[in-house]
């Protein structure tokens, strides 16, 4: 890779504490919607799976903020 790559319209989850993301990966029903972990507090969400992930997180008691970008 020599040039930068712009990844457009990529669904991402961002958390305030890495432990929150650890818990999500530990729950198989949440982890199925998560792909690569970009850093301690960022993960890529499977395209088209953001709404099922949101439903799962609400069920687990999270109240995620949703940003369009």
């Amino acid at each position: 890779m020599k040039q930068p790559i712009l990844h457009e319209n990529l669904p991402i989850i961002e958390v305030a504490d890495p432990l929150i993301l650890d818990d999500m990966y530990a729950d198989p029903n949440t982890a199925r919607y998560l792909l690569a972990r970009l850093g301690p507090t960022f993960s890529i969400v499977a395209p088209g799976e953001l709404d099922p992930l949101l439903a799962r997180l609400l069920k687990l008691g999270h109240t995620p903020k949703i940003l369009e970008h």
């Binding site: 457009e8 991402i12 970008h69």
Partner: protein
């Protein structure tokens, strides 16, 4: 649908054009082209249009107003009913009002649409004909006029029931918020709201399946009624993925004046085709719903034609009689009554008797069929929308009076109360009380529609009564409020303004805590992420003005739209490029070049990574991936979408599959699908000639040596009997070869 007459005029016959042109100053001597030019010129000039409309008779103006009311196009039967209900008729007509469209056509006010002949106004099949009027005429016509109904106020009987405007507003906000909370309503292939969503709405509104009880009055199938009313009132819009969503958020809808809200919903109710005001009505009755549309239009026009007397109470039977006197002999919910044609008798007395018999039968039918429906309209949408007060005696409505909002809607020119009086809270008293235990008691007399919309969005309604509604502040509801774009500061300020007091400390602390929880997890729906080859390259880009959040040294989450530049773009909203290869043994590799950020993770869920930047699908890796509930079709879809397909053998051959068929069967098999096959070592006697095959199969001499057969030419020999069989075949004089002739396998490019 055409909006101007100009295109249709050449298709109107010359003799019909002459009377049409008179209103525009045309003369009987004019030729066809001159008539067309005269009409077209008249319509082009707004002043001439205004003058022409002023010269029309009141009933003719009413006809144009009705066409306008129906959106520019009107079925002939609806036009006729509308004219009859208004009480303003063409003079000199007989009982049969069938000439109305013809008179309007001769005046140049309507043409037929949806037909090759825009002038074929009168014919025996004209009942459902569609008429339209020129847009330029409709633009200058006002509201319909009415001859007051012949009805006198009557003493009221029974208890008075009415719905106060705050109650109505509460229900409307509740329904809109429920639809909003459901994220819209999914549609079936036929364009109807899916039954599951109807059930969800019903449950959210706590309505029973059979109907809703409003002060002892039954409103059948309310979810169906309201969903239809919202759809027809243009408050819902269809999305590309076949969902119905709100055009305006509840809080935006609440900003309209209350009578404007009610007018909008009333229009929706008038156009419903499928719902019935009375329970258990058979679907085949008034199948297309046109009878109900005409009936509701006639009913609301009759309410508009009530004498202007704000205190007057009318008996329902008197109202029904007054309405019947205007349309009863021309309207029915299913098929309109047909007058006798008088062909059976020559004698005038007999004819009169026949007419009398018909009138009595029509009246009997109306009382049996249309009257109960009319009462149903009063006890359902007219009552629910707060348009009428009802007098109820022993559970049956006996009379009614228009409410303030009813008069604002039906007699807008004669409203004696101001809009503010119709519904606005008292400013010096609190709209609600917020208790330290998170309960809110809202006083419906004092709460504004906007405040109601706020409560419905940010709190959970637990119960409602005539004068109060009870809510509870919950984390879920506050979250919903925040997600709808309201800040926690605005929520607190609105709660404090409504209660005219500071909120208790524990509530403030908890609300702030709920808001901060939301900030701990953020979902970026369509993020723009820049990936750099090295951390240094990222730092260079930052120093050149690119801004965002740095992730893991090489990634930058952009906080503004991506600038243009010299980089490769991968758009995850589109189909990703085909960049994988796969072997029959399940070994997957990247195509050389740049890689996206999701494929590797997606494949790692299903396959083991290999040393050389690839993946290996195995029975174990696939079964492990299936355990959390994934489906094998997800893997097959992923592979089919990303694997470079094999080239077809030649240009005439079908495209080769992306996944090798043997591997696909293996994947399906690992997922639990069964493909039974059999394997056994056998001795085959192959008879290439059918004659020989059949002879051996039918021979009792050779049967003891054989285990079985398979068409068309294979016999299976019992191993222990091989030599005995060979002896018998030799005795028969047949030459037995020791080798089978088989088709050799060619090399296959799918082989790993």
């Amino acid at each position: 649908m055409p909006c101007y007459f100009d295109d249709d005029l050449p298709y109107v016959s010359a003799d019909k054009l002459k009377p049409m042109s008179k209103i525009w100053g045309g003369e009987s001597k004019m030729r066809k082209e001159e008539c067309i030019a005269c009409i077209a010129n008249g319509l082009k000039d707004p002043q001439k249009v205004q003058a022409a409309i002023s010269r029309l008779e009141p009933w003719e103006r009413n006809a144009l107003a009705l066409v306008k009311l129906m959106g520019g196009v009107i079925p002939s039967a609806t036009l006729k009913i509308g004219i009859l209900v208004s009480g303003l008729h063409p003079s000199g007509l007989s009982n049969d009002q069938g000439d109305i469209p013809n008179l309007l056509f001769r005046r140049g006010l309507i043409l037929v649409t949806g037909s090759y002949s825009p002038d074929s106004i009168s014919d025996s099949y004209g009942y459902n004909k569609l008429f339209y009027s020129d847009e330029r005429l409709l633009a200058q016509v006002g509201q319909p006029e009415y001859l007051p109904l012949e009805i006198q106020p009557a003493p009221a009987r029974g208890e008075i029931h009415y719905r106060r405007t705050p109650e109505v507003a509460l229900d409307m906000m509740g329904m809109l918020q429920s639809i909003q909370n459901m994220g819209g309503l999914k549609l079936t292939k036929n364009g109807l709201v899916r039954i599951n969503d109807e059930i969800k709405l019903r449950k959210a509104m706590r309505w029973s399946e059979k109907g809703m009880d409003m002060d002892g009055l039954l409103f059948p199938k309310p979810a169906q009624a309201w969903l239809n009313a919202f759809s027809y009132s243009d408050m819902l819009q269809k999305t590309a993925d076949d969902q119905l969503i709100l055009k305006e958020l509840p809080e935006q809808f609440a900003k309209h004046s209350f009578d404007a809200q009610i007018r909008l919903l009333l229009e929706g109710f008038l156009r419903i085709r499928t719902w019935w005001e009375v329970p258990d009505k058979h679907n085949n009755f008034d199948q297309d719903g046109m009878g109900r549309i005409q009936g509701r239009m006639a009913l609301t026009m009759a309410l508009r034609a009530l004498p202007i007397d704000h205190e007057a109470v009318y008996s329902l039977t008197d109202f029904e009689k007054a309405l019947y006197s205007r349309v009863g002999e021309d309207f029915a919910l299913d098929y309109p009554p047909l007058r006798p044609y008088f062909y059976r008798y020559d004698n005038t007395t007999q004819r009169k008797q026949e007419l009398l018999d018909w009138q009595q039968q029509t009246r009997t039918d109306w009382l049996k069929q249309e009257y109960p429906w009319l009462v149903g309209a009063f006890t359902t949408w007219l009552y629910f929308l707060g348009l009428v007060e009802l007098f109820v005696d022993n559970g049956k409505p006996t009379g009614f009076r228009l409410t303030d909002i009813g008069r604002a809607v039906f007699h807008p020119g004669f409203v004696t109360v101001s809009q503010a009086e119709i519904h606005l809270p008292t400013p010096d008293q609190p709209a609600w009380v917020v208790q330290p235990n998170f309960d809110i008691i809202a006083y419906l007399d004092r709460v504004t529609p906007l405040q109601l919309a706020f409560l419905e969005n940010c709190a959970e309604r637990t119960e409602s009564h005539k004068h109060t509604a009870h809510y509870r502040l919950t984390r879920e509801n506050i979250y919903r409020g925040l997600e709808s774009g309201t800040s926690i500061e605005e929520i607190i300020a609105t709660l404090q303004t409504g209660s005219q007091a500071n909120l208790s400390q524990n509530i403030l602390v908890e609300l702030h805590e709920w808001a901060s929880l939301r900030e701990r997890t953020i979902l970026h729906r369509k993020a723009n992420l820049m990936e750099f080859p090295t951390p240094g390259a990222l730092q260079d880009a930052l120093s050149q003005g690119l801004s965002g959040t740095v992730i893991a040294e090489r990634f930058l989450l952009l906080n503004s739209p991506p600038p243009t530049g010299d980089w490769t773009t991968i758009n995850y909203a589109k189909t990703l490029p085909l960049n994988l290869t796969i072997t029959e043994t399940g070994l997957i590799h990247w195509k050389p070049g740049f890689h996206d950020l999701i494929t590797a993770s997606q494949l790692s869920q299903w396959a083991d990574t290999t040393d050389n930047d690839g993946w290996q699908l195995t029975r174990e890796s696939v079964t492990n991936a299936l355990k959390p509930g994934r489906k094998i079709t997800e893997l097959l879809a992923l592979l089919n979408n990303r694997i470079i397909p094999n080239q077809p053998v030649n240009k005439y051959a079908l495209p080769a599959p992306s996944i090798p068929p043997l591997l696909e069967l293996a994947l399906r098999s690992w997922a639990g699908n069964e493909y039974p096959i059999e394997l056994e070592t056998v001795i085959i006697l192959r008879c290439s000639q059918e004659l020989v095959f059949r002879a051996i199969l039918g021979s009792s001499l050779l049967r003891p040596f054989l285990k079985g057969y398979q068409n068309p030419d294979l016999l299976f020999v019992i191993p222990e009997q091989l030599e005995s069989l060979r002896e018998k075949l030799n005795w028969l004089g047949w030459k037995v070869s020791d080798n089978l002739h088989v088709i050799p396998l060619k090399s296959n490019r799918l082989d790993g």
